[in-house]
Amino acid sequence: MRLRSIFFLALAGFGTWGALRAQRPFQQYPGVEYENFPLPPDYQEKTEWTRARLRYPSFINVHGYAEPANGGYHRWTIDYPRSDRHLLQGIRRLTRINTRSVEQIVDLDGTDDVYNWPIMYAVEVGYWNLTDEQCAQLRDYLLRGGFFMCDDFHGTLEWQNFMASMSRVFPDRPVVEIDNKDQIFHVIYDLDDRFQVPGAQYLYSGSIFEYDGYGAKWRGIYDDKGRVMVAICHNMDLGDAWEWSDDPRYPEKFASLAYRIAVNYFMYDLTH
């Protein structure tokens, strides 16, 4: 009896070890905007690269208005997965990156899976609420060589909320404006003349900005070797630009800049 228990315990242990170490397969989740988005025919193709999307816990109330009673929006799913799929198509077309046609959802859950995906994106981080453990793992991920890009958060309140978590990831590193001369703006495209990219709300409001988010802020956190490891896109909505890039109503110039920013950021990560 004792031996059998030991055997099953060991089996469980190995299984857990294997699960911890193995790369998680692709999985699609229902999102706020899309419940059941069609999968591309080659979604199972194994490739050299894909961009991960971070799943995170979010605040229910940032701007002081009520959200659905079922626990609030899952903010991490905003634009997902249409934005991701369009973006990855763009990467395929515009670069030699051998990318998957679908994204990978990752968690900062204490397992080793997140380290299998060295480039990560998070949307609406003005609503995120990382635990201390998640902050620690994100820091570890970045110091090992990971790259994090965040986007689609606007104005002062959302910035403060974003920093409430980010300052726990890197209490000792400042957030700075990325200089125009930085290679991140020149690695493929020369992007000296950047402008604010609005979300789809622009089609209805005609307003480039949201809340008090006047003027696009291209910010970053650098590592000890002077490389951008956190690319912060504040007061803009690149995610929407990718998502609506196939809609003729959405201005081409915003979509184009959004793709160019992504191409540059990803290529910068792969070359630095």
């Binding site: 170490r21 193995a22 790369q23 194994k46 490739t47 050299e48 690269w49 515009l94 670069t95 030699r96 990156i97 051998n98 080793d112 380290y115 299998n116 060295p118 570890d140 110091l143 090992r144 060589g145 990971g146 690695v187 493929i188 070797k225 990803f266 290529m267 990560d269 792969l270 070359t271 630095h272």
Partner: protein
């Protein structure tokens, strides 16, 4: 005993020729023996027919014994003898050569110092008995030969022993003197590595026998000796180097000892070793860091153990020139991928390597990263070199996931020359467009690969694989992540899996597999394979997924990925030669003054250049400075040599400068060192093998000191000098009488046994 039975020493039989002095012809002897045999056969057969007790095989046995007896008696009638050359008395010279090197001062357990024993042998009658028949000339030999008049002139103070050179000088004397034989009294502890075949052939041509008397114990009772230390003479700064230390011991089998490497007072590395069986040569490796730029004098030592008789042979010195050069590596990558990112990061802190990368980012754009700004213009403009002189400015090349057709035929040709002629290093990484999947099997670069690529596509697999070191990988510096070899093996086994692997095919003969990939789905494939090709070296690292297992899945503080790629890239370029390479056969001169210098000079295209002016500028201790012109070797293109005599012990630096038409082709720096008073500390046991070989190859004989008295008799038999031919009768040898008696007694005993008598 031999002489008792056979009347003469066996030297006579060795050197003599068998002759028959009787006047009758030899055929008559044969006929006589045949007639006797037939006659005896009929007699024995008739007797056995009458007596049933001696028949069949018994009669044959009787016949044989009687025939043998008759044959011997008949042979004696023909007067057998030995014809042997002997030295004419008082008309020949015997050269007595005594080893006067400092090893002869060693006190062995019995009999006192070796030289004292040698003098005793000479004084106690050998010289006198030689002088009765010959003129005796005394010599002493150490690093050279010198004539002496008295044995008091022997002092055992010579710094080294060069027996071959000394004997050659004796032969030179023999050209004008009738030297009949040489007697060499020595312990055989030669420092020049022994007496070479050429010298022995020369001595043999003169037909002068060398009789050797050996002194000293053949093995020490308690001693550890370092026989050799192999360390690369050049290294890049902060390189990890391996010293291969060979040693043997007597009297401490199985004991532990401490092996230490020092640079001056600084201990570079130390480890415990287990001593092998007595007399068995063992080699241990010990790793150390080369440190910063400069000449390092590395002292390798084994701490003496209690009771060790000679502790001066526990230390050996070697030089390492830590070069300030910064080899350049060009990395051509065909697709943006994480392996590219993390490879660059892994080596960015290595100040000794300049990694320049060209990445195909989009369909029509390359991204160049040249942090040091010292690439040729074509590379800075984003293109892979098309001219040989541009590519040859690099020391190493990495080709990532870039299909072979990306390179034009011309580029493939210059890549081939880069390895073969330039001596560069070339590393192929795995990838979607690499190796077989990249069309390399059909390309001109195929023979550079250390593997035979598979004949199929789809060799690149994105699936997990772990890694295991092979036996060669366990000893390799490329894969040494942990100091301790066993811990290193275990570490590699436990690393997280790679994200992908590629089937590189089978290693070619001469290639070395350092690591295997163990795919999760089963099987085993070579992962890291290296090979020397032409003047250069090539390697395949058949994965594009090391970033996952060895970097992102490891803690921040872990440096596995950095160490691996740094060591791999250093291996790739450390031995890539420059346009001028200087070398010397021995970096450490032990009690020797002469240094031989050799320079290989190549032009801009690394073609050997025989029309250069090459000068070696030498700087030594106490402000010694000199210049030597190096002359071209007639039979070796681009090779220049010179010899120089060091005036005193110490470290020397040689800067070789080559010029063509007043333009400098290149320069190189070499270091060497002269140490005096060290040579005789090593190989102090009697080298009986050498002494026996000297004597046997020249027709002489080896004697122990207690048998030296026999030498006076046996030395006369020689074909050198002034000789006469003498005959020595054999018919009256006691052995013949004994043999006859035995034959007769044998027959009688057999008959008694058979009951006939």
């Amino acid at each position: 005993m031999f002489e008792l039975l056979f009347k003469y020493p066996h030297t006579v039989f060795n050197k003599g020729t068998f002759v028959l002095l009787g006047g009758w012809p030899l055929w008559l002897l044969g006929v006589s023996i045949a007639v006797a045999a037939v006659g005896l056969w009929f007699i024995v057969r008739r007797y056995s027919a009458e007596s049933l007790r001696v028949n069949g095989l018994k009669s044959v046995a009787v016949w044989l014994l009687q025939t043998a007896l008759a044959s011997i008696l008949l042979l004696m009638l023909w007067h057998p003898a030995l014809s042997v050359a002997t030295l004419r008395p008082q008309q020949n010279i015997v050269a007595v050569v005594v080893d006067d090197s400092s090893s002869m001062a060693i006190q062995d357990a019995s009999g006192g110092a070796r030289l004292a024993q040698a003098k005793s042998v000479l004084d106690s009658g050998l010289v006198k008995s030689l002088q009765q028949r010959f003129q005796v000339r005394l010599y002493k030999v150490s690093d050279q030969l010198a004539r002496i008049e008295h044995l008091d002139q022997l002092t055992a103070s010579g710094h080294s022993t060069h027996l071959g050179e000394g004997l050659k000088q004796v032969l030179a004397d023999a050209a004008s003197l009738p030297i009949g034989a040489v007697v060499l009294l020595s312990d055989g502890a030669d420092n020049s590595g022994g007496v070479d075949l050429e010298t022995i052939s020369e001595i043999r041509r003169e037909r002068i026998p060398i009789h050797t008397i050996g002194f000293g114990r053949e093995t020490m009772a308690h001693d550890i000796e370092i026989s050799d230390v192999q360390i690369p003479p050049r290294a890049l700064p902060d390189s990890r180097l391996s010293a291969q230390v060979s040693f043997h011991q007597h009297g401490y089998s199985g004991s532990k000892a401490k092996l230490t490497l020092r640079d001056g007072a600084k201990v570079l590395a130390t480890r415990e070793i287990i001593l092998p069986k007595d007399g068995v040569e063992q080699t241990e490796s010990i790793l150390f860091d080369a440190g910063l730029v400069g000449v390092k004098t590395i002292e390798t030592s084994i701490d003496p153990l209690p009771g060790e008789e000679n502790t001066l042979n526990n230390k050996v010195t070697r030089l390492v020139n830590v070069d300030e050069r910064k080899p350049k590596i060009l990395y051509m990558e065909g697709e943006p991928r994480w392996e590219f990112k993390f490879l660059r990061r892994a080596v960015e802190d290595d100040r000794s390597i300049h990694l320049i990368t060209i990445l195909r980012t989009t369909q029509n754009k390359n991204y160049v990263q040249d942090p040091f700004g010292d690439s040729p213009k074509v590379v800075k403009d984003g293109s892979f070199p098309t001219k040989i002189e541009d590519l040859f400015t690099f020391d190493g090349l990495i080709i990532g996931s870039t299909d072979a057709p990306y390179f034009t035929a011309g580029q493939q040709e210059i890549i081939h020359e880069f390895v073969d002629r330039r001596g560069g290093g070339l590393l192929f990484l795995g990838g979607r467009d690499a190796l077989a999947d990249g069309g390399y099997k059909q390309s001109a670069l195929n023979d550079l690969l250390p593997v035979v690529l598979p004949d199929r596509k789809g060799t690149y697999v994105i699936a997990p694989a772990t890694v295991e070191l092979t036996a060669a990988g366990r000893d390799s510096l490329i894969t040494r992540i942990e100091e301790d070899p066993e811990k290193n093996v275990q570490k590699w086994k436990k690393l997280p899996y790679l994200l992908n692997f590629q089937d590189p095919g089978q290693p070619k003969p001469g290639a070395v597999v350092l690591m295997d990939a163990i795919p999760q789905q089963g099987g085993r494939l070579p992962l890291l394979i290296t090979e020397n090709f032409g003047r250069g070296r090539t390697a395949v690292f058949a994965t594009g997924g090391s970033w996952r297992g060895w970097q992102m899945q490891m803690p921040v503080a872990d440096k596995t990925h950095e160490m691996f790629y740094t060591q791999l890239l250093r291996w790739l370029v450390s031995d890539t030669p420059r346009r001028v390479i200087t070398s010397t056969p021995r970096q450490l001169l032990e009690d020797e003054a002469q240094v031989k210098l050799r320079a290989e000079v190549r032009d801009r295209n690394y073609v050997p250049s025989s029309d250069a002016t090459v000068e070696a500028h030498i700087m030594g201790p106490e402000g010694i400075a000199d210049s030597v012109e190096m002359v071209p070797e007639p039979l070796e293109q681009g090779v220049y040599t010179a010899e120089w005599t060091t005036p005193k012990p110490g470290s020397y630096l040689v800067e070789t400068v080559a010029k063509r038409a007043n333009e400098e082709s290149g320069r190189d720096v070499l270091t060497f060192r002269r140490e005096d008073g060290v040579a005789e500390n090593f190989r102090v046991e009697q080298n009986r093998e050498l002494l026996e070989k000297l004597s046997s190859e020249t027709g002489g004989k080896y004697y122990k000191p207690e048998d030296a008295a026999k030498l006076a008799n046996e030395i006369s038999y020689s074909e050198a000098g002034i000789t006469i031919r003498e005959t020595r009768d054999l018919w009256d040898m006691p052995a013949i009488f004994l043999l006859l008696l035995m034959l007769r007694s044998g027959e009688w005993l057999l008959r008694r046994k058979w009951g006939v008598i």
